[in-house]
């Protein structure tokens, strides 16, 4: 399988009054054709900024400070804004968490799907309505010929997310970026939307970048996983490797902290709290919370070490040259 998207060294900075804050710090990953990459991380870890950066949609005071983004062999960073507009929607589509804010309240869903098609010259005014009904049917909205004239507020949250998916696939993009597409939805509706995304991916040969904070959603949907913490990808690999053989102490901690085991037993919590942007610890950003930290962790930033050719983690524990780890310093309480 060839790479559809390659990202390397992506760094996105917000120029804030008290100095620049690096929200995405040297992020590198690739997505193959037909593959789903799950990008998982906690609130503020930089998932959405990464997603927006790929489409060059980061607004000031944010800016992409460094990095290469290659899509189908084209360097997206060097494109003119007008060329980039053609890429958005037609080649790479974006689905947001909250469909109500992404849809325009004063147009019917049919008009909005039609607009997406027309912008990219895919249809005529007359053909648009017909195509909109076809797409609404494809995302399994019941009574599509009637619903096409509904306004967003007349639809349930789950149906609005289906409309967003219809808009996303309207121009047959090669890559769909879905940023927390089910977070605002009930678990039963979430399951239906995830099923739909999987199905669309199969039938349309899409690649998917699925952004979420839910490891359950990742396990069910992703082929490969990238784990983000404090703006960096700290571990990535095939989904089974990540869940069966996690290498980074943060990934291990997250998996261990999930509810499970005998009812009423204490959970294995990660100590401390997520650092704030602008107050990131030096060295490995996870070191104040890491149960395994040792000498180099608080001063040096770990590189990306391969565990297997497909699986890597940014942690000194994987550095073959660092031996004789000293006694572990105590972990401070929160």
């Amino acid at each position: 399988m060839s790479h559809l998207l390659e990202v390397s060294g992506l760094t996105t900075v917000f120029d804030l009054p008290n100095g620049p804050a690096t929200a995405v710090d040297g992020v590198s990953f690739a997505i193959r054709e037909g593959e789903t990459l799950g990008l998982v991380g906690e609130s503020g870890s930089g998932k959405s900024v990464t997603a927006l950066s790929l489409l060059r949609l980061v607004q000031p005071p944010g800016r992409i400070a460094a990095g290469r983004i290659t899509f189908k062999g084209r360097d997206l960073m060097s494109l003119q804004e007008t060329e980039m507009q053609r890429v958005r929607g037609a080649d790479i589509a974006l689905i947001f968490q909250e469909p109500m804010t992404a849809l325009n309240p004063v147009f019917t869903v049919g008009q909005q799907i039609g607009e997406a098609l027309r912008v990219h010259g895919r249809t005529t005014r007359a053909g648009a309505r017909h195509e909109a009904i076809r797409l609404l049917t494809a995302v399994r909205i019941p009574d599509a010929p009637l619903r096409v004239d509904d306004y967003p507020h007349q639809l349930s949250g789950g149906m609005r997310q289906r409309v967003m998916i219809a808009i996303a696939i309207a121009c047959k993009p090669a890559l769909v970026i879905a940023d927390e597409p089910t977070t605002a939805l009930d678990v039963t509706i979430q399951a239906e939307i995830l099923d739909l995304l999987r199905e669309m991916k199969q039938s349309l040969h899409l690649s998917l970048l699925l952004v979420t904070h839910d490891l359950g959603v990742i396990a069910e949907t992703a082929d490969r996983v990238a784990v983000m913490y404090a703006g960096r990808i700290v571990e990535q690999g095939p989904v089974r490797e990540i869940f069966r053989n996690p290498q980074h102490p943060y990934t291990r901690g997250l998996l261990a902290s999930m509810p499970g085991g005998a009812r009423g037993t204490r959970l294995r919590a990660i100590e401390g709290s997520v650092p704030l942007l602008g107050a990131l610890p030096a060295g490995c950003a996870f070191h104040p919370r890491c149960p395994d930290r040792f000498a180099p962790c608080s001063t040096r930033v770990p590189g990306d070490y391969a565990a297997t050719p497909e699986h890597s983690a940014r942690c000194f524990l994987l550095d073959p040259l660092l031996e004789g780890r000293g006694a572990l310093p105590p972990v401070p309480s929160s």
Partner: protein, 292 residues
């Protein structure tokens, strides 16, 4: 012995009512009955809008129920006048979902925790000071941070402040309305552990409202599943999770994403036509009730 007994609770809201318009009535809670034993954790789950929060608030009379009965420790809560209700509230407290908006941003943490003691005129300044320090330690907050404002704390710490405040009056019963949903994933387990510790040490009784069914399965003794204002199934956690009877419960449980890429998946889709809303709860096995 049950500490809390809720029977035939109904809460209706009228929307869009005007001078010449009748408005439409939404039955947010529709004939809900359950009891919670002393020191028990009772879970309330169900989709958004199914009436979980409204149920919790009716019990504390933060909203007035339309009809039904709530008894706490043998006393009819709905019959209490304002003064007696305030005294009762010492025993029954609520912790909200959102640690960002539920704390007064202009109050120092010390004051937020102390306020219930002042309202209920408990202790002199020195006794209150000691009690606040004790509560701070109890919920795992650093006493050096007493003089800080809410925005200077992380989400998990803010939820601890909310808990310390709720515990100030030594309540017996807490409504926990989505107490960890707004927290970072890596911090949720800390707060869950704290909730379990507090319950054990202080013999608290919990009504635990939550979206996360995995968490509910882990910490609740019994669970009720709500759907459109009604309880459609209720029972001991293990029985309900292992042998769900109502079609909605089956769909709900089958939809939980499992953090295991090799877990078998058998999605059950809920067809509203498959369940008769007028069915009453019946006991399908001992202590396990379903509206089928």
């Amino acid at each position: 012995m049950s500490l809390l007994h809720v029977s035939h609770l109904v809460k209706q809201y009228t929307r869009g009512k005007g001078l010449f318009r009748r408005g439409t009535t939404v039955t947010a809670v529709d004939d809900v009955s359950f009891s919670i034993d002393e020191s028990e954790t009772f879970g309330l789950v169900g989709e958004s809008g199914s009436g979980k929060t409204t149920t919790g608030r009716c019990i504390l009379r933060l909203v007035e129920p339309t009809s039904g009965a709530v008894s706490f420790n043998g006393e009819n809560v709905l019959a209490l006048n304002a003064r007696d209700l305030r005294a009762r509230r010492r025993d029954m407290q609520i912790v909200f979902q959102d640690p960002y908006s539920s704390l007064n941003p202009r109050m120092k943490a010390r004051h937020i925790v102390e306020e219930p003691l002042i309202i209920h005129r408990l202790g002199d300044a020195r006794a209150r000071r000691e009690r606040v320090a004790e509560l701070f330690a109890r919920v795992g907050l650093d006493p050096a941070h007493l003089e800080r404002y809410p925005h200077q704390f992380s989400g998990g710490q803010r939820q601890r402040i909310g808990l310390a405040r709720a515990l100030a009056l030594n309540p017996r019963f807490l409504v926990l309305d989505e107490p960890v949903s707004a927290l970072d994933v890596s911090v949720q387990a800390q707060v869950v552990n704290l909730l379990m510790d507090l319950q054990r040490d202080l013999k608290l009784t919990y009504l635990f409202v939550a979206h996360d069914l995995r968490l509910v399965e882990h910490i609740c003794d019994r669970v009720a599943v709500m759907h459109l204002g009604k309880i459609v199934e209720m029972g001991r956690t293990a029985a309900l999770f292992e042998r769900p009877q109502h079609p909605y419960t089956r769909a709900l449980l089958s939809a939980i994403p499992v953090a295991d890429p090799d877990a078998p998946r058998a999605r059950v889709v809920f067809d509203p036509a498959s369940a008769d809303r007028s069915n009453a709860l019946r006991e399908v096995e001992q202590g396990h009730w379903a509206a089928i």
